[in-house]
């Protein structure tokens, strides 16, 4: 589904990603872990198509297409979704209104009819339950005045409504209490099936108790320094990122 080959990315002329190779197949969940500033969000933003991030070398293929040729909205319409580490506030645009506009844009790209108000509401009600989203947040401007936890849950709510093929979650677990964490994990688990894939970026292994990954990759200084199975996350939990700053043995995870 997603193939990243030798990806180098610059921000403001500074190289942040320094040669990333990563393959994600349909049905898989990959966790990306790494210390602060290692380039996790940079990777997520590049995948979503942020203009500030310049690919200087390498290629990203999504379902065989060169991602660099797609606008951010085209990526979304092709089934990609990014849950932002810091969701953006959109004053004056109600959450539902925004979501309906987004969903119908994606449906149009897929050649589907726009959902009418009734069907949309039914969908929203269903997905809202999934992430235990407070109904009042539907009518408020997107993320404005939301608590940190509400913002994260709202991202998962958007994901559930937009129903992507490849979901990228950037530290959606940070700052959440255990209950909220479990809700977020349930939301993601509900999406998982053999036709979809998830990339979950996290700083802590805690989320991975509820959202069990098939593969774990450690990112440090813009490179994947170690890859492994679920147990790698536990190892990081034990020892921190010490000794993982430079690539050592790059383990081929099971299934490769």
């Amino acid at each position: 589904m997603l193939e990243i080959r030798n990806l180098h990315v610059n921000v403001d002329g500074k190289e942040i990603l320094r040669g990333i190779d990563l393959t994600i197949r349909a049905g898989e969940t990959h966790a990306i872990m790494g210390p602060n500033g290692s380039g996790k969000s940079t990777l997520a933003q590049v995948l979503a198509g942020h203009e500030a991030y310049e690919i200087t070398e390498g290629v990203i293929l999504y379902e065989g297409q060169n991602l660099a040729e797609l606008e951010p909205e085209e990526r979304a319409c092709a089934g990609m979704f990014l849950a932002f580490q810091y969701p953006v506030e959109i004053p004056g645009v109600s959450n539902t209104y925004f979501l309906k506009t987004a969903l119908n844009a994606i449906r149009k790209a897929r050649g589907e009819e726009p959902l009418d108000a009734v069907d949309f509401l039914a969908l929203v009600k269903e997905k809202m339950k999934l992430v235990h989203l407070d109904e009042k947040l539907l009518h408020r401007p997107v993320n404005e005045g939301f608590s940190g936890g509400e913002k994260k849950r709202n991202e998962i709510f958007h994901m559930a409504v937009l129903d992507p093929k490849l979901a990228i979650l950037d530290e959606t677990d940070s700052g959440l209490d255990v209950d909220a964490l479990r809700i977020v994990a349930e939301g993601v688990n509900a999406l998982r099936d053999e036709t979809r894939a998830v990339m979950v970026i996290t700083h802590y292994q805690r989320l991975l108790n509820y959202l069990v990954p098939d593969f774990v990759h450690i990112l440090a200084k813009g490179r994947i320094v170690k890859s492994g199975g679920r147990e790698l996350a536990l190892e990081v939990e034990e020892n921190g990122y010490v000794g993982l700053e430079e690539p050592t043995e790059v383990l081929q995870p099971v299934g490769y």
Binding site: E71, R75, F84, N104
Partner: protein, 446 residues
């Protein structure tokens, strides 16, 4: 001086217009009004058209108006609204509606259905003919045209307009819509709409003024609106300006607010090539609350200028002002917000905010708050921001599947919506939402 003299020379045409109609004025109008008109035309001659050397007109050059030779509009009998004028009536509403064509009342297009007792809504010319005494204390007595050449010109040359009188204690059940349309198919005309609203003590009403014209036609609307709000009255005023993109529009609005009254005026400027609104609110007694909201959407080569002036003449009054400008293409916007707090006006609470969204590199705004505060125990704040669309917000919307143009439009709509949301009359708000959505399409079925 040369420019000034040149502009003064251009007044001759307008003085000639006055001389043409003076016979009729002398024959049909009371002496006091004839006197006012004589003073107004001579004051206009003295002032001449303003130039950009004058502080109040530094950012708005009226040369395109001065250069053009407008024909004084006469009464035009038309049977129906030109169908090129959209969104100007409120077809599903029960509003009382008076329609004026080139400034003249059109009974055929109006409906004065079920006017309540205690409310008079009629042609100003008719009111002058039948009941001039009732108008005498108000008409042109409120506002001074001394410093406003365009107001002076209107005062000398208006032939008709709207007169609204609400008796003490009367609560108007439905809004009163005054629709001024211009049609100028053969030659560029100038019209002088005039509105006088007298709201008695403890009355309540909503007054909507709409200005519209046929797209593509060149004409000049020079309007004056005077509203006297009585003690404890609650009056809501809307001015919806949707002139043709080629039109010139200058409006002087004068609001006289009496003790403990509550007054709100919403000014929406969407049309016109050269537009100037002078909004003057005089808070003449204690306990008044005055709200001024404004929205400007300028594109192409439009120039839209709002000058507001709030005079806190007495203590314990509050004013809230929020004006928003959306300026695109090569358009220019001007906002000058003056607030005067006189020496005895203690406990004044005045808040002014002006926000501008620039949508292109060539668009520009001149925003000038001007607070003059002579009292010491007051709360006065002002803030002006100018910015572009938030890139992060734009990116966020796009990652959710919304295309770039639609995402821009959605954010722009949201910016405007803060003003639209303050509109309390559903039909007016919905109409504006519709207009905005047509100008800023962002839905897939658009």
């Amino acid at each position: 001086m040369i420019a000034l003299d040149k502009n003064r020379a251009k007044t001759e045409r307008y003085v000639a217009d006055y001389e043409k109609i003076e016979g009729e004025i002398a024959a049909h109008e009371p002496i006091w009004l004839h006197q006012i008109r004589k003073e107004a035309i001579s004051r206009f001659q003295e002032l001449g058209f303003p130039t950009i050397k004058e502080e109040e007109w530094r950012h708005t050059n009226v040369t395109p108006i001065v250069k053009r030779e407008f024909t004084l509009a006469g009464a035009a009998a038309i049977d129906s609204l030109p169908d090129t004028i959209h969104h100007v009536t409120f077809p599903d509403s029960d509003f009382t509606q008076l329609v004026f064509v080139n400034g003249f009342f059109s009974p055929r297009l109006s409906h004065l259905n079920s006017l309540q007792d205690g409310i008079r809504v009629e042609s100003l010319a008719q009111a002058i003919a039948c009941d001039a005494n009732a108008l005498e204390p108000y008409l042109s007595r409120l506002g001074s045209y001394e410093e406003h050449p365009f107001a002076a010109l209107n005062t000398a040359l208006f032939r008709d307009g709207a007169y609204v009188h609400i008796k003490k204690g009367v609560v108007a059940r439905t809004p009163i819509h005054l629709l001024f349309i211009s049609t100028s198919p053969k030659q560029a005309v100038v019209s002088y709409p005039r509105t006088l609203v007298v709201a008695g003590a403890e009355s309540q009403a909503t007054i909507i003024e709409s200005y519209a014209g046929v797209e593509g036609e060149v004409y000049f609307t020079n309007a004056v609106t005077e509203i006297a709000v009585g003690e404890n009255a609650v009056i809501e005023h809307y001015k919806l300006q949707r002139e043709s993109a080629q039109a010139f529009h200058i409006a002087n609005m004068l609001f006289y607010l009496d003790r403990s009254s509550n007054f709100a005026s919403h000014s929406i400027s969407l049309g016109g090539s050269l537009v100037r609104n002078n909004v003057n609110a005089a808070l003449n007694d204690e306990g008044i609350e005055c709200t001024l909201n404004g929205l400007v959407m300028a594109a192409g080569k439009q120039h839209i200028d709002n000058h507001t002036y709030i005079d806190h003449a007495r203590p314990h009054c509050a004013s809230h002002e929020l004006y928003k400008n959306i300026v695109d293409d090569h358009a220019t916007g001007v906002f000058k917000g003056k607030i005067l707090v006189r020496r005895d006006s203690q406990k004044t609470d005045a808040k002014q905010t002006n926000m501008t969204l620039l949508l292109s590199d060539e668009a520009s705004i001149d925003s000038m708050p001007q607070l003059e505060i002579y009292a010491d125990d007051v709360k006065c704040t002002h803030g002006a921001t100018t910015g572009r669309l938030d890139e992060n917000a734009l990116f966020y919307l796009r990652t959710r599947g919304i295309g770039k143009p639609a995402a821009k439009n959605l954010l722009t709509y949201a910016f405007a919506n803060e003003i639209i949301n303050r509109i309390r009359i559903d039909a007016v708000r919905e109409q504006l939402e519709q207009i905005l959505r047509e100008r800023l399409p962002f839905e897939q079925n658009d």
